[in-house]
Amino acid sequence: MIEVQGLTRYYGSFPAVRDASFKIEDREIVGFLGLNGAGKSTMLRVLAGLQMPSAGTVRVGGIDATLAPDALRRRIGFLPEDPPLYREMRVAEFLRWVGQVKGCTRAEVEAELPKVMETCQLTDTANAVIGELSHGYRKRVGIAQAIIHKPSVVILDEPISGLDPRQIVEMRKVVRALKSFATVLISSHILSEIAQTVDRILVIHRGRIVAEGTEAQLSGSLGDGARLAVVVRGKLGACEELLGKSELVDGYELTANGELVDIAVTLRGDKREAFVKELVDAGLGVRQIQDSMGELEQIFLELTRAAGAPAALESKQLRTPQGRESHDPKEADA
């Protein structure tokens, strides 16, 4: 278990992380979500034992990061955004060296090496020179060096940055495979990636943890209802009349699409069943209903706005893929 209590980390007089407290259970995949400069990397570097806390405590499996930093580092594997690799070395040779540097015996490394190579899908490149590998493979070698010593916690800082779509899919598989033996912490500012990979999210903003939980819990913690993307068969006017007077609806957007109407709607509370019943009772044929694609983006914007972020900046950096305007008054504010 990772226990962080009142963690603060200063760079000079600037507090990059402020009074952060949270717990992470074993074998969880937890995502640190935040804008660039929010304090994610600093948080991970302190958790990895690269930097000492200015105040507060960090315990990993009961080991205090300040009192026993070397013991802590033996239990942690860390991959920064740019994989730290000696480009002139060969993959297997490099992993053997890293394993020994991290405290394993030669025999332990030799026993672990084939498993690590398989987990990271590196078996075919064991004798390749690292400098000649593609960016995606170098990321895998980076993860392999982080797990070669069988750590109980693996920390990955922006593991998918710079990868192409196929490499991202492969990287997700690798990250999920790590969960079988370790707690995994991932940082990212790519919301969709966090949503697809992690069990739980910690939202960090201006150095503070402003929220934590699953995507659904975060959504619920806002006190708002669900955001849905609905497709119905019916007239645009009928839809507008229904949504305009419905007490369940907080905001909506309609788009005519032939005989169909696309509805992006925000409910007052999670009243999905009642809303669908209203649609059916009004004679609209419900063809499709799903959580809004931009839900996590919405959650993030709400949470960071509540924490006092400049709204224009957030809106620019975390705009939903659809990029559409909304009748939702909260979105309009952003």
Partner: protein, 241 residues
């Protein structure tokens, strides 16, 4: 100790895998050979011991420069390429990192210094010179190499780039070299202080002449200890900054 040897092993491999180490060693051997032929042997008849003394005089300069060139990359390069994170996130202590890096540099420098041995050997075969003179000279050269390598390791530990590390090494080394000039113009008791810290004039001349003085050995070993300790403390303190 195991961690230090692991670092040293990888660092040695890095020297062998790059042209830098070979280039520096080759340049030193060429320059030493030219200086030996042109000045130490020269055109005038000389005693063998004088030839050897002058050989060690010229070798001092090339060894100092090679020590700076071979150590400036040690830690600064890791910082430039980001691989320092590997060390920082491992249980290796700062002294193991610094010790390992320094050890590897010393292996390369010792190889380079000992590779010049063919020149005194020529004098030994064709002239009359004692083993002790050659042994003392090489002891002095290795101590100088060790001292400047320690200064270089410290400079590399505190610098973000290799160029800055090289510059810092040069500044510190030159400061030690010109101490004898300050000693000439200073008043007592500073004259003794400046004189004592003179890297060449006060402490190396004895080795050139075939003498091994304990205080000279202690001086060079002290330089090594102080600068390696400073480098180690600096690396350990980075986690708190």
């Amino acid at each position: 100790m195991r961690g230090m040897l692991l670092v040293a092993r990888r660092e040695l491999a890095a020297y062998l895998n790059s042209y830098w180490g070979y280039a520096v060693i080759a340049a030193v051997l060429v320059i030493d050979g030219l200086l030996f032929n042109a000045f130490a042997l020269g055109n005038q008849p000389k005693y063998s011991s004088k030839v050897i003394e002058e050989f060690f005089y010229f070798s001092f300069g090339t060894t100092v420069i090679a020590s700076i060139l071979l150590t400036m990359r040690l830690v600064a390069e890791e910082r430039q390429t980001g691989t320092i994170v590997l060390i920082d996130s491992s249980p290796l202590g700062a002294w193991q990192l610094i010790g390992g890096k320094y050890l590897s540099a010393m292996v390369v420098l010792a190889t380079m210094v000992l590779a010049t041995m063919y020149m005194p050997a020529l004098v030994f075969v064709n002239g009359k010179v004692s083993y002790g003179h050659i042994f003392a000279g090489y002891t002095g050269l290795l101590l100088v190499a060790a001292s400047v390598a320690a200064i270089g390791t410290f400079a590399s530990a505190i610098s973000r780039s290799q160029l800055v590390a090289g510059f810092v090494s040069v500044v510190i080394t030159v400061a030690f070299l010109v101490m004898w000039l300050l000693a000439k113009v200073a008043e007592p008791p500073l004259v003794d202080v400046f004189s004592y810290f003179s890297l060449f004039d006060r402490h190396y001349r004895g080795f050139m002449r075939g003498q091994i003085n304990v205080d000279d050995v202690v001086f060079y070993l002290s330089i090594c200890f102080v600068f390696l300790m400073l480098a180690s403390r600096f690396m350990a303190g980075r986690r708190w900054r």
